[in-house]
């Protein structure tokens, strides 16, 4: 991927298949926010959404906004299309991003606006939101420096 070249964000393609547990996440994304489930009893975040807090089994779980800037934990350039829908999308970047405000969570996401040679684990990344109407809400991350 060359500097400045954007790939289409692909995570909005299949939104109709989403589970109700993920609705608050996508509603937040539709408002250009990032939020995760957090237990109000023990204060711990968890991901993916579960029926009860997996740390203390409390059902007092609420969604909590998190600063949509994080750190690149790992990434891969996916070159093989796992499914017909992805044939026109490869190659694209999938990443794990961590957040200082949500310890323990690693968010699966796409990287956009990537200069591949400058990608480094640990580099700061920032959320890119698009689609404000909730139904087509999408989120990806771009490097904060080096691109």
């Amino acid at each position: 991927m060359m500097k400045g070249e954007e790939i289409t964000m692909i995570n909005s393609l299949d939104l109709p298949s989403l589970l109700p547990e993920f609705l608050p996440f996508w509603e937040s994304v539709g408002r250009s926010r990032l939020s995760f489930p957090r237990c109000t009893e023990c204060g711990e975040f968890h991901w993916y959404p579960m029926v009860r807090c997996p740390h203390c089994q409390s059902s007092a779980v609420e969604w909590s906004d998190v600063e949509p800037e994080g750190e690149l934990y790992s990434y891969t350039k996916v070159c093989h299309p796992f499914g017909d829908k992805l044939k026109e999308k490869v190659p694209y970047f999938v990443a794990l991003v961590t957040f200082a405000g949500a310890p323990g969570i690693r968010l699966v996401t796409n990287l956009v606006e990537v200069d591949e040679d400058k990608l480094r684990i640990g580099m700061p990344v920032k959320a890119v939101f698009s689609g404000a109407d909730g139904e087509n809400a999408s989120i990806a991350f771009r490097p904060l420096v080096g691109s």
């Binding site: 298949s17 891969t76 350039k77 996916v78 796992f82 499914g83």
Partner: protein
Amino acid sequence: MSHHDPVCIVGIGETPPVRRSDKNLRQLVIDASIEAIADAGLSPSDIDGIVTDSVIMPNSVPHEYVAAQLGIDRTFDAALSYGGAGIVCAPMLAEMAIRAGRAKNVLCYFGVDWGSIPAGPYGFHDLYPAKTAYEKPFGFSGQPSYFALWARRYMHEYGLKEEDLAMIAVNQRKNALLTGRSQARSELTLEDYMNSRVISDPLRVPDCCLISDGAGAFVMTSAERAKDLRKPPVNVLGVGFAMETMTGDDIFTQKPDLMHIPGAAEAGRQACERSGISLDDVDFAEIYDCFTISCLMQIEDIGFCKKGEAADFLRSKGTTVDGGFPVNTHGGLLSYSYRLGVEHVVEAVRQLRGEAGANQVKNARIGLVGGLSMPDYGVAILGR
């Protein structure tokens, strides 16, 4: 039977390693089962217990189908975990049944038709809701991408090189070609590896297991009954089963430490404790090599070497069948076939009987089999 008498594997069977079989999964499982029972010198009517995994087989070739097809009047059946951990730990359930007097001769079987069915192994992960609903829309599906994230991070933390992953793939291909029947038939050099197609970087085609149709089976009985059977018994010295308490959705990305597989460490510890065997005594290992990176990590987590040191350890030992620490003596899931580890158990028995042929490890007396089914792990230590 005495508490100290081992329970034994006395018969093995497997269908030929192939990408696509002209037989369906039921035929494949029955073929492998009949072969294993005959190999033991038993008749199907001698079998009174059946063990398999608890997810894949019950939904494709269930216990009662196998029993009906073979005429097995069973007093015991059981299932544990899924795939690799399930079939590697099947000897644990069979042992419990035999020791408790619930069954005399137990058939363990497993097979997949992921070489033929649409979406194959990728489709299997659709059973996990968050993968389907959240991850797939990001183009994050397909097991190579999960393990690519691990590999990239591992490279960052421990300085692993592409050449290190290549070493595992190249050595296993050498082992595979010696068998004369492996699914992968072409030689693989370091140069071939470096020129191979990238799947999900840093993982290339040779880093990823094959996709196969096929089945394997083995028969277990007591040491006392084993004396009268056709083949020399292989003793089940100790089995361990452990896991990380996370869902199948979370385990590839959210586990607290992405670089450790704690189930492998604990299952390995249990198997060593039960068998009284030290890892130093292990002559060869059949490790669940769904990917080069996961094979390497399991070798560390089981405890053969420290975290971050597997590449140097394996390079210094040598992992081909003539090396100091042969790993995946039949070529493994990478080069022999991908039947989720049942072929690892069958191969370990072959090695311990001295029946392996050109890929025989000299003086193989103790073998360790590791089976991974994230988040579960199984270790079986077998010996003669």
